[in-house]
Symmetry: C2
Subunit: 462 residues, 2 copies
Amino acid sequence: MQKGLLTFLIFGIISHNALAQNDADVLFLKSIHNQSLTESKCYGWLERLCKEAGPRLAGSEAYDVAVSVGQDILKEAGAVNIYLQPCDVKVWKRGVKEVAYYIDEKGEKQYLHVLSLGNTIGTGLAGITGKVIEVQSLAEVDNMADASLEGKIVFFNRPMDATQLRTFNAYGGAVDQRGSGLYSAAKKGAVAVLVRSMALANDDFPHTGSIQSIEGAKQVPAMAISTNDANKISALLKEQKELSIFMRNTCHFEGTKSNYSVIGEIKGSEFPNEVIVVGGHLDSWDVGEGAHDDGAGCVHAAQVLQTLNALNYKPKRTIRCVMFANEENGLAGGRAYAAATTGKSEKHIAALESDSGGFVPRDFSFDADTSVFKSYLKKVNTWLPLFESYGLQYKTEGSGADISPLKPQKTLLIGLRPDSQRYFDHHHTTNDLFSTVHKRELELGAAAMTSLVYMIDKYGLQ
Amino acid sequence: MQKGLLTFLIFGIISHNALAQNDADVLFLKSIHNQSLTESKCYGWLERLCKEAGPRLAGSEAYDVAVSVGQDILKEAGAVNIYLQPCDVKVWKRGVKEVAYYIDEKGEKQYLHVLSLGNTIGTGLAGITGKVIEVQSLAEVDNMADASLEGKIVFFNRPMDATQLRTFNAYGGAVDQRGSGLYSAAKKGAVAVLVRSMALANDDFPHTGSIQSIEGAKQVPAMAISTNDANKISALLKEQKELSIFMRNTCHFEGTKSNYSVIGEIKGSEFPNEVIVVGGHLDSWDVGEGAHDDGAGCVHAAQVLQTLNALNYKPKRTIRCVMFANEENGLAGGRAYAAATTGKSEKHIAALESDSGGFVPRDFSFDADTSVFKSYLKKVNTWLPLFESYGLQYKTEGSGADISPLKPQKTLLIGLRPDSQRYFDHHHTTNDLFSTVHKRELELGAAAMTSLVYMIDKYGLQ
């Protein structure tokens, strides 16, 4: 720590706040990090969640297992007032294994690496065959003549922008193809869509993920195709103008079901009605193990409570861990949580979500209602030098999906932002596995979150 | 980029230099990053080095292959004046596969995961059996009575300190056991030493690495043992006071040989005699593929030249790529390079080495002779805001082994410091593989180096 301060001095890039930090805070943040790197339980918890519940889509039996594991984790974290908060989720089923292939020059089937997109409809067992039309954007389809895509399969193939340093920005610039491409295609008569996977690497993993929900809009079946296969199809289309692909899936909805967010807390000693939420989402897609997305976030959040308890820290405010239900294909858990706060005497002063993977922490990203954001930032800025000495920076690029419904309550919303370079190698794929999470990186994420929660609890935001 | 500057403003943590940056530099650094993330060759080069040369210890035939691959890489990078610089290396051979085991209660051999330390002597084919004495430090051995370890195997088992954020600091705090433990043990009559691997993870990979060279000091054979096995042996010793281990290896030296550093450059247009070195070391240990240590550094350095050429940048100063020979067990390449500069009209103004892995870049670490360091720092500090917008910071914690002999020339020495959390999962093991290097992380390291070289070239250090 002294070395960190010394570095500030040597380089002259020093905020006037750096030397005003309370030594007790410097020491406590060091204790939090020491504890997290030597005694934390989050890595073992994540293994249990990944191996026992595994992939745990909303409405699945696996999600019920995850709820049970989540409760155990909160007990081990020393949380009190552990309870389950219900929400209604639409039950979407992938059905039979999806298939897509084309017939090559030798008459042989060439199977493609595909995954149906979440919440899509199916082709039915008979499947669909259509000529493939490659496009780069929704606008390209929207500008086509009516019925010009009759009977066609539209192949959205705009890659994520590799020049974006933060890969989530590259994702944001491409994901409209996954979310809404099928609606544009359906309007022009297409029978199905294939969407280039949301990934920067060239590999064989198709990436699922939800389509947008647009009430009453005409849909067609939609699948993600791996980046390697997307490149292959694109090359084939350049060689031979006509390429037909067969697609089959039986995705469908099976009504609604109650699912549960898992909640527990440490009660505040001075201001028990002031709540600081830490959370992640307990559901995942129905492939892989939901390790980075978002088992990591759930165990990060539980670790905040466990570390504060282990250090015998008695918070002034209530620190509440929420493992949200149904983030991936509905956000019912986040909405139910925010709705349940109305009419209560509690005030949610801050909410911190980890839903960007279990990699080494780099930034906190802040968001809040504009009426209060400036004053919150002024306060948290006074703490920045403390975090900089742990390699952490601030950003203002959103927070987390599950906590965003709290925004009207003037809650300070915060997203943990781990290093993003590897995230889209795993996101929504069979490759989102516990074995790809690094123990120390996970622990450092929990330490970062615990440190910020400690500062907010101790000093408030006014 | 504008977003980056905006963030500085919003948060008020802004250096007075931030707004003084030349827009041309902002744009050129963006070009460097765009080029590096879309068109760079370093990942393919690294694959070739790892797969064709593989593990390439000084004096081995594989090292000669690496020299050939290194020359090809420099040609592809568009370097001119490519040449080989000789140095004399001691040829150390691992000999037969090393073995260590104990006999369990059932009379069965329990093999341990071990690797002989580099430059160690061997037990001979007959092997050595000794009772194991666990110690935590050299001091503990040094304080023992003379001859008190007669016939014993000393087991150095102090773990790396998990609470160190930068894992290289944890390494620095434990590596004396590997470097010098055998000398302390030999003085007290021990017959061999086992050293807990320099790793933070609990796994089955033993980590080799060099012992110190101490002329005339008595040696005994030394092996690294995996962290899992170190924990196992320590637990056994707690249960039963006496545990004997058998060790066998046939490590030995086979004279000296000429090895070659591989050198190429872009000639400076205004000040051709002012040299900026970028480098890594071409040799590796004789296990794994030398991917992170230090194939990554070699291709980083070559990528600097290739990117500047691709962007048609004509440097004022000479940018020279050096792939150093024999870093791992002798430093003959680095010493020969520095020695060869004497008497020449060239002035080495800066040297930047990448020898800390191919992970996402986090920091530049600066070092220089105290007579000039302060003024250099003043200069480079004016550029910090440019680098901060790419998530890069400055430190003053050394540079690189190969470039350190240039220090008396008042050269600014710089080490690239990628994120260190995963490094000691791979360092000096069979797990230092190309497959563990992430393409974008490697490319971002090259982009960071290219950016700093561009700034030094353009503005100098005065």
